[in-house]
């Protein structure tokens, strides 16, 4: 009833074009008595003029008229109406099918035959009025949809900027990294991160969230924060993965997760640690043309509870110039005009296509692009390629430094002791580094400090608490035995302690300071000779302490040889701390 009131009874403005005077009178009478407003024309030309002038909502048109006939008038009226639906009803006593067909061809919507009948005319007008109104509401809906789409694109653009503010500071621009990713890829659920580690080397991350649009993008923000935040603080890849999984599992609803691969590229030691959970196989491309497959070994992030999640990585040695390639499933799922998918076989074809490891990225990208040419790819593609490089390469890429407020602690000391099983489970370095980073200006030396604290802690743990002889590391076979022994002993550890004392004093001008790092373990201690040997050692073993010695102004053994004290003197502005050993520092020895 309400629709009838709205649709059926309101008056319309109707144009009648009919050359017969008496017929016109009859139509006029029928329509005005039904409440409509009537505009009259006696031929086609008048009809078109009246249409422009009066903008009627419906037209009754005699097919055969002088000057301009009804067919031509209909064509012009339809063209003038544009997107508006103006129904044209042909008034006709035409009876041959061909003439009727040509009425429809020029845009006629219906016929009314003579004699005119008011009941039929009312029914036809009402039917067209409903059609008009439906058309109008469809158009409004379309305009609204268009508007909403515009707004959504605008919002996505804003959201992307917010996301870029969190994720932009990566080192994706580094010389040894190449990648393919759409600027709006985050809304396809793809994420790509790279960040230099304080200890040297790079963390890389390729992720692919389930779904599309905002739900896919929403998890990317915390993920980026965890990745960049924890990497900058020196956390290890496994800690970061665990935290990512925990966070994703906590915030994402069941059924939404993130297929991901993460790489810890260690330039110093020339190896890559790789974790793959749900991404297609990545590849390590060797100089000799061979390749190692980096298969997905884990469930994607955000599915398993923390106690069942495994952050175990595969470790691969890499020579300088060898490449590591990762891609999201968008590559395999790219579709060509025939609806075929690019597929794993085509990827393998590209990999087997010869050339050097550094060519593969361009060749793969080219192959996918030409395969999917002219097709709106279903899932955007994300490809990451990273080459093992000389350590010096990343020095140009500084991790982003937050502006110093100058308000942090300058004069302080602390002791932190890890005991018993905790030694096997917890890496204290990120926490300690985090504390040091609060000293205004010291952040610039995070790389050095990370190395110093890590080496001293490992030295205390491995040689002091676990009593591993460093001589084991003298041969390559022993080197790997050393690490398996380390794993085994850590698993069995019940007693022991490592205590780390940090003490910072500002220099009088407050343009730098002195950080004392003292690490003591529960072991039996070094002989002084062992230390000096260790410090001088250039082989596979003992590199750790030699490094500390290089980075610090003063390193000395104290206690019964179970304690090492290192002094790091720094000056605001980079590059001065390493310049030689401080005389003052030496005098304490």
């Amino acid at each position: 009833m309400t629709t009838d009131a709205a649709f059926g009874n309101g008056p319309l403005r109707i144009l009648i074009a009919e050359d017969n005077h008496s017929d016109r009178m009859i139509l006029h009478a029928i329509l005005t008595r039904q409440g409509h407003e009537v505009v009259m024309a006696t031929d086609g030309m008048e009809a078109v003029e009246a249409f422009h002038r009066e903008a009627p909502q419906m037209v009754l048109l005699d097919a055969m008229m002088p000057r301009m006939d009804g067919l031509e008038a209909a064509r012009e009226i339809k063209a003038a109406a544009g997107e508006q639906l103006v129904p044209i009803i042909f008034l006709t006593s035409l009876s041959d099918p061909e003439s009727l067909a040509s009425c429809l061809e020029v845009g006629g919507d219906d016929f009314l035959s003579k004699p005119y009948n008011r009941v039929i005319l009312r029914a036809k007008i009402n039917a067209f009025r409903r059609m008009r109104e439906l058309h109008q509401s469809l158009q409004n809906e379309r305009d609204r949809t268009h508007q909403r789409n515009e707004q959504m694109l605008h919002e996505q653009e804003m959201a992307r900027r917010v996301f870029d503010n969190i994720a932009h500071r990566g080192c994706l621009g580094a010389e040894n990294i190449r990648y393919e990713a759409s600027p709006m890829s985050i809304f396809n659920g793809d994420v790509l991160f790279a960040s230099p580690k304080p200890s040297g080397g790079v963390h890389l991350f390729v992720g692919d969230f389930t779904g599309h649009g905002l739900p896919a993008a929403i998890g990317a923000v915390p993920l980026a924060e965890i990745f960049y935040g924890m990497t900058a603080k020196g956390f290890a890849i496994s800690d970061i993965l665990r935290e990512m999984n925990r966070k994703m599992q906590a915030i994402l609803p069941t059924g939404v997760f993130c297929c991901a691969a993460m790489v810890d590229l260690n330039l110093k030691s020339g190896h890559a640690e790789v974790w793959n959970g749900g991404l297609p196989s990545g590849y390590l491309l060797r100089h000799d043309g061979s390749r190692d497959e980096l298969r997905s070994r884990h469930l994607p992030l955000g599915i398993l509870p923390a106690d069942r999640f495994s952050a175990a990585c595969e470790r691969h040695a890499m020579e300088v110039g060898e490449h590591l390639l990762l891609c999201s499933d968008g590559v395999m799922e790219s579709v060509n005009r025939e609806g075929e998918m690019f597929g794993e076989d085509r990827i393998l074809e590209v990999l087997a296509g010869g050339g050097t490891p550094s060519d593969v990225f361009e060749r793969l990208r080219g192959a996918v692009r030409s395969f999917a040419e002219g097709v709106g790819s279903e899932d955007d593609i994300t490809i990451l390629d990273v080459a093992m490089a000389e350590e010096s390469l990343l020095e140009a890429v500084e991790p982003e430094v937050l502006p110093d407020t100058g308000a942090g602690p300058l004069d302080w000391e602390m002791t932190y002791e890890l005991r018993n099983e905790t030694l096997a489970r917890f890496n204290p370095v990120p926490l300690l580094l985090h504390i040091c980073m609060d000293v205004p200006g010291l952040r610039l030396f995070s790389g050095e400090l990370y190395t110093i604290i890590t080496e001293l802690f490992n030295n205390a743990l491995e040689h002091g608490v676990l009593r591993l002889p460093s001589s084991l590391k003298d041969s390559p076979a022993g080197f790997s035995r050393y690490y398996s022994e380390r794993e085994r002993l850590l698993g069995e550890i019940r007693h022991g302690a490592v205590s780390i004392r940090l003490e910072h004093r500002p220099d009088p001008q407050r343009r730098g300071g002195r950080l004392l790092i003292r690490v003591e373990d529960s072991g039996d201690g070094f002989s002084g000779e062992a230390l000096s040997q260790s410090l001088a050692h250039n082989g596979l073993s003992g590199r750790g302490l030699a490094l500390v010695r290089q980075l610090c102004n003063n390193v000395r053994l104290c206690g019964k040889g179970n304690c090492i004290e290192a002094e790091f003197v720094w000056h605001a502005g980079r590059g001065e701390s390493r310049s030689g050993v401080s005389e003052e520092g030496n005098s304490h020895e």
Partner: protein, 115 residues
């Protein structure tokens, strides 16, 4: 002449309903137009203009149907067909037939209006 009625009384009743007090004006308008149509038809026949003959006959036929004059409409239709076939050989008789029927219709309509 067929048995058919010259006027369709049902149609006229309906028209009277629709037109209310304009009914008489409608009938007068029809009759005036009809005379004009008849003149145009004779003209087209004399000029041997088949297309014009067809168009006028077609239009005339339409108003005859609406007014309720079926026999007159049929006469017009025959003329329209001849014009369409470009055959004006019978046009003289056709115009005569229309003229004769129109006279009858006209007379009956005037009587109907007076009733």
């Amino acid at each position: 002449m067929s048995d058919q009625q010259h006027l369709d009384h049902e149609a006229l009743t309906e028209l009277r309903d629709v037109m209310e007090d304009e009914f008489n004006i409608l009938i007068n308008t029809f009759l005036q137009d009809a005379d004009e149509r008849l003149r145009q038809l004779s003209e087209a026949a004399r000029a041997e203009d088949a297309d014009s003959f067809r168009k006028v006959a077609h239009s005339f036929k339409g108003s005859c149907i609406n007014i309720g004059a079926p026999i007159l409409a049929e006469c017009c239709f025959a003329a329209e067909q001849a014009g369409r076939e470009d055959n004006l050989s019978q046009s003289g008789q056709q115009v005569a037939a229309i003229e004769e029927e129109l006279a009858t219709v006209s007379e009956q309509l005037r009587r109907y209006v007076r009733e």
